[in-house]
Amino acid sequence: MSSPAPVFWQKNPALAWREIDDETVIISPNDSVMHELNDTGSFLWKNIDGNKSAAELAELLVQNYEVAPDVALSDTQSLLEEMSSRKLVLCVPATSGVAP
């Protein structure tokens, strides 16, 4: 069984977001819904740039917070899935290191 193709995560470009009071607030203009991210959620959000996979984001979490690697990966994947279901993030095919 082949493993799934690697993906990078990027913010949905249609959104508006700001940091306020140590949280990140995200607005979805089409439905005017407000989403809030806590401290670690904000950290991940800042690092979601279209060039990192879930594993790379989790690695950053491990480097900056006292969290075990397996927990970091699990939490990161859960958050990404949650944000994806709310259309806050999109996954794009990972291209780095792949020959054209």
Binding site: I20, D21, V25, I27, P29, N30, S32, E36
Partner: protein, 261 residues
Amino acid sequence: MNEPLANSGRGHRQQFELSIGCLPFRLQMSDAQLFGAASARYAAFSDAVAHPITIALNEGTDPGVTLADFGYELEGAVLRAFSSGIRFDGVRNQYALDSLLRVLLSWQLLSRRGFLLHAATIVRNGKAYIFTGRSGAGKSTVASLSPEGSVLTDEISLLRREDGVWRAYGTPFWGDFRAAGSNTSAPVAGIFRLLQAAENRVEALRPTAILRVLLPNVLFFSTEAEANRRLLEILCEAATEMPGYNLAFRKNAAFWEVLPA
């Protein structure tokens, strides 16, 4: 300043100038009935103003212009904003004119660090107290419990940051209390989220909570991402710089006693 214009072919165009939140407009229209209603409706806000933004009503499409900087349609009434001026088409009554004016204001305020908020504003001791909340929360009740002349608006407040200070302006858009609105402004004392309760009590809010209070009550009509980013930037500034409170409100005038001075 009301004066007739040259005949446009659709009858005499008339115009008057008004200023809302220091934003100057010149309304031009041929419909005498609508002109009468609008000039009476906005009488308290009519003013001869410098460099007004001209709004042409029901003049039809100008073949010379095709792409608007901003557009909005509401029940057949259409707003289109061009660099050369603003056009309102399909405006059949005062209600439609009011609606498009609110949409236009919300868009124009973006570049002036301001926004419109569903809120009553009362001036007390020279400071503006902003009372916001959903329909039925008590905005009109607060206005009705306040001294005559102190109500800037009982429905839609205009807030702008000017020289580092947030000021609230009256608007001609009224609610149940039908306060005609006052064309004056005052520095903001605080934003109060109205909550019906058995006793009057205030609770200070953190900036995120203030933002949570503001967002559902802001009038904004653009779904364009950049405009929403600008709006969010302004609202975060407002939530950080203006004090905000939950106000448990018994719907009597004693609530003033618990408000911070």
